[in-house]
């Protein structure tokens, strides 16, 4: 396929947290805020004078200092963030909004705070207690927490306009990004997709790493470009199976590239920093205030394993089934970052439930934060692809004697 015009630029933007577009936003006077989770509604952060990016630690090398502070038994994302902060890599941030999505993330940002690793004038870290269920009490809690601990704080510290009108405008920008990502991602459902999983992962991830308004022109152009992009005829040979990629946070698209190079085309995703549910537009009505609608959207669409009510537990599996069907996935890869408690259990459960109750071939893997070319990963994906092919042959009645 012909290269996408902005792909290289997108890849470049992902190489640094404080990338060109973030610097542009800072130069025009925006306050740069680091956030860490879907549960800190992204739709807020297109408010005037605010730019939010997800806290990442691209190009992480060793993590000795992070490991000293958090031990070798904690999630590498958290250790990498502490390491990067100790190196001074987040000095450009004006604030961090952190939700204790898990204990390790909470500890990670508490380390940043206690060790005073971000020293920009007026810098603060706000800790937000996010709900753990998908019911109405959770929605009300989310409203209280986001109003008091995010919106009011932004007004107090930065004078940010958080009025109903400003929030609506912010949601509009967010929704345009979401619609473009959905439009681009929809091509993955084609029989011979005109976009690879890796390309999509890059495009999607860059929306977490840049000011949205500055990114939009390139996104629009990419969506337009894709309308007429011709898929590779050879693709069917290159990719032998279509997979849905599921699991904990992936903020390095190279992981998707590794999977695809082993023969599995990633046609759909359900991982943190991916497109679902984070890039579902928020359809606003005029009856309810915007804040309530945003919070309800986040709570009701949440796919985090920390949502403990049995409805949410079941819903997460149903969503995978729907996504796999919609994108014609032959199998599901469930991955988790090593030492992630939530995904450790969720992965084990999904491996059995999606296989035994929903009938999908499932590959279950853990992985480090830093993606390196891994023979083990390739071998496992290749074996998985082969098992899918054998299963398909059996289903088509060509399975031979065995």
């Amino acid at each position: 396929m012909k290269d996408l015009k902005h792909l290289y630029e997108f890849e470049k933007l992902l190489l640094e947290s404080n990338n060109d577009l973030v610097r542009q936003a800072a130069d025009r006077g925006d306050k740069i805020i680091g956030i860490n989770c879907f549960q800190l509604p992204e739709a807020f952060y297109n408010l005037p004078g605010i730019t939010a990016i997800h806290v990442r630690a691209p190009r992480t090398g060793t993590m000795e200092m992070g490991t000293y502070y958090m031990t070798s038994m904690t999630c590498e994302y958290c250790r990498a963030v502490v390491e990067r902060a100790l190196e001074g890599g987040y000095q450009f941030l004006d604030a961090i909004l952190e939700t204790a999505a898990c204990s390790q993330v909470a500890d990670c940002f508490e380390n940043l705070e206690r060790l005073q690793l971000c020293n920009k004038e007026g810098f603060f870290i706000a800790h937000i207690d996010a709900p753990m269920k998908s019911d109405e009490n959770a929605v009300q809690h989310m409203i209280r927490m986001t109003r008091r601990r995010i919106l009011d704080r932004l007004t107090e510290e930065f004078g940010t306009d958080t009025s109903e009108a400003a929030l609506r405008k912010s949601v509009e920008i967010h929704n345009e990004v979401c619609r473009l990502i959905s439009e681009i991602g929809a091509y993955r459902a084609e029989e011979n997709p005109r976009i690879t999983g890796y390309e999509f992962a890059v495009i999607c991830l860059v929306t977490y790493a840049c000011p949205k308004d500055l990114l939009l022109p390139m996104l629009r152009e990419t969506a337009e470009e894709l309308k007429t992009r011709e898929p590779d005829d050879e693709k069917k040979k290159k990719y032998r199976a279509r997979v849905l990629l599921v699991g904990s946070e992936i903020d390095d698209a190279d992981y998707v590239k590794e999977i695809e190079e082993a023969g599995a085309l990633v046609v759909a995703d359900r991982y943190c920093y991916g497109s679902y549910p984070d890039r579902i537009p928020i359809e606003l009505n005029d009856e309810e205030d915007v804040l309530t609608q945003i919070c309800r959207h986040v709570v009701k669409n949440n796919q985090c394993p920390r949502y403990m009510d049995m409805e949410a537990v079941k819903y997460r599996k149903d969503v995978l089934d729907q996504l796999a069907k919609k994108y014609h996935a032959d199998g599901i890869i469930v991955q988790q970052m090593k030492f992630c408690n939530f995904w450790g259990y969720e992965r084990a459960g999904m491996q059995h439930i999606m296989r035994e109750e929903y009938g999908y071939p499932v590959l279950s893997m853990d992985r480090p934060y830093v993606v390196t070319s891994s023979g083990q990963l390739r071998t496992r994906v290749q074996a998985f692809v082969e098992s899918i092919e054998i299963k398909q042959l059996h289903q088509e009645g060509k399975g031979g004697d065995d």
Binding site: Y68, Y69, M70, T71, M73, T74, C75, C78, A100, C102, S103, Q104, A106, D107, C108, E110, N111, E113, R114, L115, H127, I128, D129, A130, P131, M132, K133, D135, N137, A138, Q140, H141, R144, M145, R148, R149, P305, R306, M308, D309, M310, V313, Q336, K338, F339, N341, F342, G344, Y345, E346, R347, A348, G349, Q351, H352, S364, D366
Partner: protein, 512 residues
Amino acid sequence: MGKAINSEKLGKMYNGKRYRTRREWRGLKDTWYDYTRWLYIWKTMIKFMANPQCLKGFFRYRWMVNYLAAPDFLDRHTEGLRGPQLRIAHKEFDLIVEHMCTTMKTLFEADQNIGGDPEKSKKLVLLDENMMSQVMNGFPNLTAIVPEIPPIYTSSTMAQDGVIHYVDVCEEYGVPGDVCPMPAGELGVAIEDDYPKVGICMLHCNTTCDGSLMGNSLEQRRFDLPSFGIAVPIRYTDPETRDYAAQEIRNAIKFVEDVTGEKFDWNAYFKNMKTFNGETKCFKEWLEVSKTDYPQVIGNNVALYRDAYYQVAGGRDDTFLKNEQEICKIMYDAYDKKNPVVSEVRHRAILWGVQAQYYSAFPLWLQNCWGIVPLIDMLSLTSTDIYSEDDPEQAYYDMADLYAKENMRNRSEGGLDVGVDDLWRFCEEYRADMVIMYEHTRCKSMTGYHGIFDDEAKKHGIHLIWVPHGLMDPRYASRGDMRNEVNRYMRTVLHEEPLDPSLEDFDDVKAW
């Protein structure tokens, strides 16, 4: 051999086998006392096993074999103790054994796996292992029962390897080996169908930790009962979370009412909370005495017992209150006589972090071997607030507060203020010069503070001794490994000699 502390070389009783060569000679009076308590424990156990349902349970469930070691469990938790401390220990641990027998009897009599009574089963509301139980204080016609306690929590203290079979079952299922063995073991029991089949509904909770929450959601599939998850805020010290937390309690109560047809009885609730408050008052008296030069209720005599009455009994069993009042009396008598708890006080220590369940007698070893007085432990330093005894609206907030301050999560969630800063405050209050820092290597909650603890201990001039362990899985760090961390520090940093050299190095790898 005699009535004085450290008069017997305790390490010599370990012979590398499952059992010790003999029981301790503590002088005539204390040995006689211990003997009579031993008889009492066997009477309790024989009475339990005489119940046909309990006997069936013994043959049905693998974890029951751990309870053969109950007398050994008592020996371990009274090792080296004399006089008032021995009596306090027996008051507590004997009651725990009795309470466990009652719990298991209740389970087995209702257990559908072994032909139990379905009507009795319908009166049981199952609670998650690591959640407070006060929400059941207003349901006098229902019995709150924690099915995970006999197979996992207590099993692990009875026999150090008592739950590793279930941890392995969980890993075989696909759960990573780095998760905490407690929820992993609980899930292993579910996978292997080794829970009694009882109950009308279940309440589960996100206390203590992320792993526990996740294990629960998978276990529910085996219990197959109507369930309600109580979501307790992680940032519970933030006042903005209180309305949410209180509403969760309201919803949980409504759920139990809807499923069982019972109505929440406020009179029963407040009666039980009065008992609970009485227990808290006793506990506070223990703490006050521990701050003096003559602490009396310390170490093991606080840790496990506090779990039992604060969390599991929750005020519904006034036997605990009576017991505590008697302990207070023993304590004050001993305090007046300036009774020493060790033969020589070398260090006053706070135990922080989550203790090793397979070595719950570790604080006694600290006392006997090195003269380190374990004044208080993190899991016991939970809420000491006095809760409302007459205001229903306030009661929802009280229950929410208690749920947030459950033993194992009170300080591992909630931020640096309660997890780290409070430690230094306690060191000052209790005049402690040492912190024994349990590091549960697979706990994802507090390990993230590792570097901060190290940095700040230096600033506060506190001896911080890290003691890594695997909570319920001694394969990660044996009891001997735990002791060696202390031995090393005492020898190389403090250049001290042990009070009982036989305890410095002995073989208990195979012991219960």
